[in-house]
Symmetry: C3
C-alpha cells in the first residue's frame, strides 16, 4: 500500500478546511498538549469523560480517541459507553493502550475495549502492542526498543487477531492493515524526551481518520505528519522544552512542500 | 459605561501588589495554563475540588472561578458547595460555562449553578451564553461565529435573566452589565489556536474581580488585558506554540504604556 | 555534611545512564510539567493513581513521589496503598505536602501518610513543613516567606518527629538529615512565577533518590540541580513563559561544568 505526499497534504488541507471535532477521552498528563496539537493542526478537540454526557459528546464528534494513560473505574465505564456510541454512529475509533503490559488493569482494559468494540486504529509502542496479543508470537523479548522484525511480527499478529489497523511507533513506524504494511521513518530522537508525544500521535490519528476513509492510510498520514513536524521542530530546538513549542508551530505552519521534501514512507515489506 | 487605560493599569498594579488568591475549580485541560496565567499576571492561584476541603479553600480566596469544562458528579457537588461558601463570604464568583449547549449535562449544570448562586460574572462564547437562556431571543442561529448583533441580544437577555454581568468573548468582546455595554476589541485570531485561552480569560476575570469592585468593570479590564497581551505575544510568535509562551511573558511584563497605546475599548451601543 | 559538584554530576550521569522509573501520584496541575522535567533530566516518569493498579506500578518503579496538591478520597487511598507497596519493596518515597496548613484535609492527609509510612524525604515550603509539626516550635509566624532561622527550626523539629529528611525550599533551601544540614542557594526569583516548580523539585528528589543511597544527599543534589537549571533558564528568559521552556532545555543540557561553576552549597550551620 502506497501513500503519496500529495495524499497526505490533501488530508491536512481537509482537516484545516472541515475542522473536524475530535472527542478525546485521554489521560490527565497529556490533555493540554494533545488539545493544543489538534488545534495547531486545524482540528477541534473536545475532552469529556462523564458517563452523564459521553454519548452526547460523541454525537457531535467526527472521531473518538481513547487513551488509557491514567485509568480509573469511572473513566473505563465512560470509555466503553463512548466506544459503543461511536460504533452506532459509525465514526472511527482510535485506541492508545498506554502502559498495556505494565499493569494487568491496563492490559485487561485495553483487551476488553478491543473485544467490545474493535477500534479502527490501535496505536502504541511495540511492548504495548505485544501486551494486547492473546497468542504467542515468536519474538525475543520485544519491548519498546524491539528490533524491527519483532515489532512487525507483533503488529501483524494483533491486526489478524483484532481486525484493527495496528500502528507501532518507533524509529520506524509500522502501520499494519488489510492491504499490507506502510513504513514511515520521519521523526527525531529528541521527541522521546517530551511527555505524551505518543499520545499526541494517537490524537492526530483521530484527526486524519476523520477525513481519510481508509484507517491504514489515516494512521500512516498521521505518523508522517507527526514525524515531519517533529523534525522541523527539532532542527530549531535546544532541548525538549523548546521542542514542544516549535512542534506546535510546525504543525500549524506545515506546508505541502515540507511534506514533499521530507517524507520518508514506503510500502512493504 | 467607560473604562480608561488608567483604570485598567491601576487594577493590574493592584493585582501585582496585593497578590489575591484566586480559587479555581476548573477543567483538567487548562489547570496548568490558567495557573500559569494567573501567576504571570501577579495573582496567586489555588486549585482544589474535593468536597472535604472546598469550603476551607474558599475561605482563603479573594475570588472563585468555576469552569465546567470537564465535569463529573463529584466535581459538580464541589462547585455548588464552593459557590455557596463564596456567597456567604461575599467574594465574587466567575462562571465559565464551557461547552454549555454541547451536552445537556453541561447546560443543566451551568443553569442550576446560576439559579443557586448567581455569579457576579458569566464569561463564555456566544453559543455557550445562548444555551443558558431560558427565554427565546430572536437570533438567526447564534453560535460562536455569531454576528455581533445576535451576540449582543443574547448577552442582554442573559444579563436580564440572571442579574450577572455577562461577558461574551469573540472578535469583539461584549460585557453587558447594569450600566450598559462595554466593547473591547483587542486580541488576535491566533489565540483561538491555543487551547483554553477562553478559560484563561475567565480566570483572569477572577483576578480583576478581586481588586475591582464593579464586576462589569472587572470583566472588561480582564478582556482588555487578555487581548493586549495576546496581541503583544502574537506579534512575536510563529504559531500557537510560541504564542502561549510569549503570552505568559506579555502578562508578566505588561506596562501602563502598553495598555495606553494598544487599548481598544468603547462604551455602548 | 558536604556534597561536592562532582558528586552531583555523578548522580546526574547515573540518572541519564540508568533511566530510573519514577512513579508519581501527583496533582492535576503539574502532571505534564513534572513528567517533562523528569524526562528532560533523563529519568522515566510514570503516573498512575487507580487502586486497581497502583501496587503493580510501584513494582516497576525505582522511587515513589506522592504529591497532595489536588486531593480526593480515591486518590488518598491510592497514596496509602502505594506508600505501603514502596516500603515493602524498599524503594524511596518522597512526599510533597502541597498546601498543608491551607486546609485541614491536606494537613491531616500529609500527617497520616507520614505516620503510616515515613517517607525518606519530605519537601515543601516553610509554611507547609510547619503545618506538619505536632509540637510547638518557637517561631514568629513562620510562613513561606519565613526568616531563615525560623525555617531551620521547623525543619529540624519535623526531622526529629518523623525521622524523614526534611527539605525546605526557599531563597535558601535547607535539607535537614541525620548528618546535619545542607544549604543550597541556587535558583532565581522568576521561578516562583511558574506553577508547580516546587512540585517539580519533589519529583526530581525522587529521581536523585533512585540513584543516591543517602536521602539527604539526594535531596540536596535535587535542589542544586533545580536551582542551577533555573538560573541558566532565567538568564535567557523574558518572563515565566519562556522560563519554563528554557528550564526543561537546561535540565536536558546540564553539564558537569555548569554544576562546578554555579553550585552554591554549604554544610551547616
Amino acid at each position: 500500500m502506497k501513500i503519496t505526499a500529495e495524499e497526505i497534504w490533501s488530508a491536512v488541507r481537509a482537516i484545516r478546511e472541515t475542522v473536524p471535532v475530535i472527542h478525546n477521552i485521554t489521560n490527565y498528563v497529556v490533555m493540554n498538549s494533545t488539545a493544543n496539537a489538534l488545534l495547531a493542526l486545524g482540528a477541534s478537540p473536545v475532552m469529556a469523560h462523564a458517563e452523564e454526557e459521553i454519548e452526547e459528546m460523541v454525537a457531535i464528534a467526527s472521531s473518538l480517541v481513547i487513551n488509557i494513560g491514567t485509568l480509573s473505574p469511572a473513566w473505563v465505564r465512560a470509555m466503553f459507553k463512548a466506544a459503543e456510541a461511536a460504533r452506532k454512529r459509525k465514526i472511527p475509533i482510535v485506541l492508545d493502550p498506554v502502559g498495556a503490559g505494565a499493569t494487568s488493569y491496563r492490559t485487561r482494559t485495553a483487551r476488553e475495549l478491543i473485544h467490545a468494540v474493535p477500534p479502527e486504529i490501535i496505536r502504541g509502542n511495540a511492548s504495548e502492542i505485544m501486551a494486547l496479543l492473546e497468542t504467542n508470537v515468536k519474538t525475543k523479548g520485544v519491548d519498546s526498543t524491539a528490533s524491527s522484525d519483532a515489532a512487525l511480527a507483533v503488529g501483524r499478529a494483533l491486526h489478524e487477531q483484532s481486525g484493527s489497523v495496528v500502528c507501532i511507533s518507533g524509529e520506524t513506524d509500522y502501520t499494519v492493515g488489510p492491504a499490507g504494511i506502510i513504513q514511515t521513518r520521519n521523526g527525531h530522537v529528541l521527541m522521546t524526551r517530551v511527555t505524551g508525544l505518543g499520545c499526541t500521535a494517537s490524537a492526530i490519528c483521530g484527526a486524519f481518520a476523520a477525513v481519510t476513509q481508509d484507517p491504514a492510510a489515516a494512521a500512516a498520514e498521521a505518523m508522517a505528519v507527526m514525524g515531519i513536524a517533529g523534525e522541523i521542530a527539532s532542527a530549531r530546538s535546544e532541548g525538549p522544552g523548546t521542542l514542544q513549542i516549535h512542534f506546535l508551530d510546525a504543525l500549524y505552519r506545515l506546508s505541502g512542500e515540507d511534506i514533499e521534501r521530507m517524507l520518508k514512507i514506503e510500502a512493504g515489506p
